[in-house]
Assembly symmetry: C2
Homo-oligomer: 331 residues x 2
DNA sequence: CTCTCTTATGCTCAAGATGAGCATTAATCG
DNA sequence: CGATTAATGCTCATCTTGAGCATAAGAGAG
């Protein structure tokens, strides 16, 4: 390898993969292609075409045609192109490499009921189906305890010198009895489970059959490496809402503060302290009154507010970061 | 476009582009290929090869061979592949598209004096040569005032409905008399200057000759879209040091707290308040004493400290964010 | 051998931001 | 009408930040 100008190399298939996220009834959902019987659902993906002026335009144009929704927000996530991508990938063929440029897109809650979707070949899948352990809104302990004990076993099984490092990684990503985990580390947690062989993709990618006990409670696998791509999106989105007002892309024009909070909770997977959440939103000037009220609250009617678009990328870092409540205090 | 499995499309040349950053004598530098006489410097780039197991491994292996330095830290930056990428790109050829997967790499200060480099065809270029306006460590005003007035003119020249939006964008990215700008928005600033035609690449990419006044003070252009890639790296790195301890990848094994601060300042482009910076570092437990002292300080000798590697990805968010001092208070 | 200069290091203080509760208000549903 | 369900408002103790001041410990000049 030299520093000479790059030259074209071996055949590379490039596709654009979309992680389209919506929030439906406090559940974050992702657009997937329906699996055939027994198969795994896949993220929508399409080949990069010559007509596409920009990568993002390519992604945007065909997703919009598919979903009939305006994609409010689109950002490039990551480019996946490791040769180790599994052999059951139909696009690989003849020793070529497949490159997937993944994008994250957010759409407002319109026709996003789970199961229904704009195209009959697609469906909205709750993302916590893929990562049940990432939802700590109600009772976090069942999942955490199980995964931690499985991972502890993996740590103990490590070769001599690696034991401490593995144990420490588990502690950092999954927390321990005394400390919560960091919601943003969803990708690291998935990767750790993969390495530990606790998700079936690990065995499949190695050409083996996963042990059955592995499948229990390990979440729903997606095609190829799509669960990893989804985990990347979850991590990115959880980080992003802390400093950019992207939550509003997931909400209708007008909404109540509780709905905003529930959306934040759905994404981050933790329950938030209501008064503090409101204070945060208020002092940041992110929303303004519409003068209307929402009556269907089940209790006292709530003000309907709207996002102040003119503040969309204002100075410091608007967005919704807020304190988690102690466990169990969700509703 | 359908949701069918992706198929191989038109020829795509894929290369891995590296933004290798070091800090030399309080100056952030980037590794570039020396330009031919009159030409523009380019970032090192090499084609993606079939042997590369992972993209990052590919990037890492050949950069390490080139520089004889261990790349402490490598992360994927962004994939550039817009069709509008300029025509003087030697790798494009026959209507094919070029895809560049850019990586950010950090190396410790070893042989990184400006101008010297591991390979005679390469050089370390101060990144503020490309973005003089991004260095606000001493006196920010000369650049800011000039760019703001040029951009104000661009705003005023906008078609009727766009005027307000343009003016607002300028205000958000470049700040105004009363407010500083956000150091992380380096990429947005470059892109705004590009759109406004204030950097020569804008004219070149359009196949035109830039007006000479444009060139004055607009920084040093790089080959193709490499200045944009570098701006992406600057923004990413400035954001990253706030919540991950990556600064240490840019420092030798042991260092003084002032050197750590100067490195943070070099990257972020702003002068920091010394006592507060120390307090921050101390309370985060990022460093530990070595017991040794550094005598060459010019004043009272300073303790030599070292980064606590075991804390490298600890819970909340270690890293170096700190308050900027008011202007002019650098040294 | 002091005085001066330079940088290291420590301390204090006032604001602001955060984490956790408690109290009131206003609808709906039997 | 009383119970239930939310919406909204307020308070308080802690942390965290932004800024400035004071002292300590070397090198060099005179």
């Amino acid at each position: 390898m030299t520093l000479e100008p790059p030259v074209t190399t071996s055949a590379v298939a490039v596709d654009l993969t979309a992680v389209v996220i919506a929030v439906s009834e406090d559940t974050p959902v992702v657009l997937v292609r329906r699996p055939e019987a027994g198969g795994r659902a896949a993220l929508p993906a399409g080949p990069l075409q010559a007509e596409h002026g920009t990568l993002q335009a390519g992604l945007r144009s065909w997703v919009e045609r598919q979903t009939d929704l305006g994609l409010g927000y689109v950002e490039q996530l990551y480019t996946f192109g490791d040769r180790s991508r599994p052999a059951d990938d139909p696009a690989r063929g003849d020793g070529g490499r497949r490159l997937s440029i993944a994008y994250l897109a957010l759409v407002p809650p319109l026709d996003t009921a789970v199961g229904r979707a704009p195209d009959p070949r697609t469906a909205w899948m709750p993302w916590y189906d893929a990562f049940p352990w990432e939802d700590l809104r109600s009772d976090p302990e069942p999942w955490r305890a199980r995964l931690r004990s499985a991972l502890a076993a993996w740590g103990s099984a490590a070769p001599k010198g690696l034991k401490a490092a593995r144990t420490e990684r588990v502690r950092l990503t999954f927390g321990d009895e005394s400390s919560d985990w960091d919601a943003e580390r969803a990708l690291e947690r998935y990767e750790l489970l993969y390495e530990a062989g606790l998700v079936p993709e690990a065995a499949w990618d190695a050409g083996q059959t996963p042990a059955t006990e592995v499948l229990d409670g390990a979440g729903r696998p997606l095609a190829i490496d799509h669960r990893r791509i989804l985990a990347t999106a979850v991590s990115r989105l959880r980080g992003k809402i802390k400093y950019r007002p992207v939550l509003f892309e997931l909400l209708p024009e007008t909404f109540t503060l509780l709905r905003l909070q529930r959306t934040a909770e759905a994404i981050s997977g933790v329950a938030l302290h209501k008064p503090n959440f409101r204070r945060l939103v208020a002092q940041q000037g992110l929303v303004e009154d519409t003068g209307q009220m929402e009556a269907e609250t089940g209790g006292r009617p709530a003000k309907l507010v709207r996002f102040r678009r003119d503040v969309i990328s204002e100075r410091p870092a608007p967005g919704v970061r807020a304190t988690a409540t102690r466990r169990g205090s969700y509703p």
